[in-house]
Symmetry: D2
Subunit: 298 residues, 4 copies
């Protein structure tokens, strides 16, 4: 079901209202914003979707709202958890709401190739035949997977249809994975899109990342994969790079991204739910300086 | 409400039936077993209570069942989670079911004294005036708290009524805490009870630990704290030490503890829920050898 | 002695000959290259100086060679080690060779504010009155230091004359440190210079970083701190950003940096000593593509 | 050369004089003490040998002194280091002084099976044909090795003649290794000897551990492996268990072990070199209480 996963898949924000509840109206405007700027699909409830601040009910509600707003375009939901029972329950619930698949990163307790295989054995015994995006992001998960280990895992579990590859250096790992893991497994890349031109040149099928100007991500993807316009891709990427890099600063980066998207009308309120990042006056001035000295389209 | 927390508080098991559901009948027999062997209260849903294998509904169900079986003796529920919204929701639910308090260990994202204070600020903003046991167990949590940091935390949040101290070397830390943190804050100790005589000699108020012979834990506590019979306490402790140490082996240790308690009639089935430990024939033979060469009462 | 530490301090490479020995001739050309492009001083034997591949004798030899080539400009030597006796011995030796000071990052065994203070107590008891750069780089050291803890440390040990600040988000931490730690303690910033304009705007005294075009680092520093030309600084920074970011990829990034500097004539051979990074034909092609699509001066 | 490695190999202490220099006289008495109580060989310069407080010259000096005192019985030297050049240099030096082999634990940078193989490739490229004890101690190294990965490693490098197995639960891992790795590779066990009877029952070739009563370790080994007296082995082990467990408390445990051995005349001074553990009056009283309530031979 996820075999056709290519092109930009935006890592979506979770918007909150001033009263700290989930802002469902902004889910509609965000979804339209993402799609208007080239998203083929969405990844919701990732780390930068503030999943760790939502109750299970809110979690399922956010997934359902994004599915409803997406008009048939795919929505993949992050469900990683150290608690396998919770992972399985949330998986079943978001699938019932229409999620096309789920994204899973192994928990920090996985420390060897054998642990990795055993973990996903247990996962699939519980969730069954659900299409899965395997997230490879050691900087966040603490789990380092070698390419041979990933290949064995993917060979054993055909439900793994996509890899979100964000182990560094990512372009090299994309190339090594692509040489080892056969189609139709897809490889998308994350890491805030910081190495997107290189990743696409080495065989990635598109970005799965968040950025306040998603049109850059979809544009670079198109220029590299379809138009064969490497110079154009680099030029587009480099133009946005100062902001892209500025958003790649953990929780503060998410707060900055929400603020820029608020200014662009994509959501009503930039607030993150505690304990997320908040922006000071200095942070805002710093953001304004970066934007002022970039060469952004009007 | 937890100010009188002293004496043995058993870290309770979660029993499962052969069909992998929670075995509520065995919760009744376990509770009676724990109380019969000297428990003043129970700590349910800790790591060795296999909390990470339960759905949120099952979690609350286990807490409610232990409360119902306890006839008014206190039940404290472990609610630690990297997800603060989930922690708060489960806290409210177990409190509604009658839990006397909750136990919280800071998440691995807490890395400085400032992080620690900020984390519990966020926790109490959400859960309100709930009595809390602060768990200090770096080997599991990854969070190391200094005694001054713990004292500042406890000074700032009077809801913290008890510390479960299991940082190594634990007896030294109990003494340092006791010299710094004023009454009525209570200090119980865990770490499978492996250093219980020393911890009690240095000022601990009792064990909060699991063992298949809880009468040893309550006996040592009584001999040390009330009868001033150090020789008797050491003799009792040393007699059980080979098995105590054998149960202190992570997931396999929990499986062994369940098996011994099954043999003692405390629960119907020794099974752990996946991905918990299972015992092989060699593991059973090894357990039998240890039991055979101890000098246990008939 | 390090009180005047400001402006660009280049994190220097260690050059190797084809026979895998240290290439002392290239130390001379590298030093001239760094100074020609604006370095006020050098930091040698850091992680990107491949210190972990050198024997103690080679370590001291590299420091001595950089001092000899520097004609009186300061050389600071990285001496961090989990072995305190080795740290002290190397400190004495590089000081005897003329190093202006040493840089120390706490070892991973430091986990609380108290540990931190005790560690530097032990350090200074052994090394005495040596000027020290305190490196704050949790992504590499595993040690997170809060601003209050750093301030207490600096207050207790006047030998700490400089902080190399590279905890993320770094600009925020520079501002918080600057507001807390009084002059004349200097704050330089690392992290490959990726957030240099923001760090300088928030009070940093210059970069302590490596880049194959050090003239960008010194130029941005001058434009921000002396010429008050924020627009010029951003323009200069953004022009080099695609390569700056590409070099920020761990061991592969060091290999890329050496390759670009080899092309610029700064050293004779780009090789890293094993187990350092090696570049494949694809890596070289990728580097060429990045360089081709930047707007670099001839 | 290490193929006959079986029976007790004591993890030796490094003794210090009151002036903080290495106490070479006590190396002689310690060696005699270890051999008199059943040691077939020694492991020097391990973590509990305070290797991290010695300079490279002291390191080699300690190894040489133990070799000289051992009258031909084997001495194996711990040489683990994140710095491969240092590891290789120390290996060559201790071999020149007569060490029978070296013990190596992989550094924390090893995170996958592929990393593990690459690391030892680099090690053996540098140290050549030196007999090696592979230490498997994740609680200290941070590196978890699966049994298949260890088997591949041992298959690739015949220099690995012995495994020091101390991953928990250790008895299970000994059995799995023994079933996978063919003779003549030997398996010794560490972890302070806490699970020695079980490890020997599952196929270990003896303990490689430290304890202030090494005659217990050699006695249990003999009773289990040669006399087939399981009851006798358990009885002997259980008699000493309260102290064995008390010494298993990190740096404080090493200090306690030195103190007991000082009382037994094995070394002249119990001091550890900073930043090692020091004992307070309460620690001494605690030790005395444990000893008083055990049933030790006169």
């Amino acid at each position: 079901m996820l075999e056709d996963t290519q092109g930009l898949h935006v890592v979506a924000q979770t918007p909150f209202a001033p009263d700290d509840t989930v802002d469902h109206d902004s889910i509609d405007t965000l979804t339209a914003f993402y799609h208007r700027h080239g998203a083929k699909g969405l990844l919701v409830l990732g780390v930068s979707g503030e999943a760790q601040t939502l109750t299970p009910d809110e979690t399922v509600g956010v997934a359902a709202a994004y599915v409803a707003a997406s008009n048939g375009r795919p929505v993949i939901a992050g469900v990683s958890s150290p608690n396998l029972a919770l992972l399985a329950e949330v998986t079943a619930q978001v699938r019932a709401e229409g999620a096309a698949g789920v994204m899973i990163s192994p928990p920090a307790s996985v420390r060897t190739d054998e642990d990795l295989m055993a973990y996903f054995d247990a996962v699939f015994a519980r969730i069954g035949d659900v299409p899965v995006v395997l997230q490879d992001f050691p900087a966040s998960s603490g789990v380092k997977m070698s390419v041979p280990a990933m290949a064995r895992l993917i060979g054993a579990f055909p439900q793994i249809a996509v890899v979100k590859e964000e182990d560094m250096p990512s372009a090299r790992k994309v190339a090594a994975l692509r040489a080892t893991v056969p189609w139709p497994v897809r490889i998308l890349t994350g890491n805030n899109g910081l190495y997107l031109p290189q990743e696409l040149a080495r065989g990635a099928d598109g970005p799965m990342a968040g950025f306040s100007y998603p049109e850059m991500l979809s544009g670079v993807d198109r220029l590299m994969r379809f138009d064969n316009d490497v110079a154009g891709a680099h030029a587009l990427f480099n133009r946005y790079l100062p902001l892209l890099k500025h958003e790649a600063q953990g929780a503060m980066g998410i707060a900055l991204r929400k603020e820029v998207m608020r200014r662009r009308g994509a959501l009503a309120h930039a607030a993150m739910r505690a304990p997320g990042g908040t922006l000071t006056a200095e942070d805002i001035a710093e953001l304004d300086a970066i934007l002022a000295h970039m060469d952004l389209p009007a």
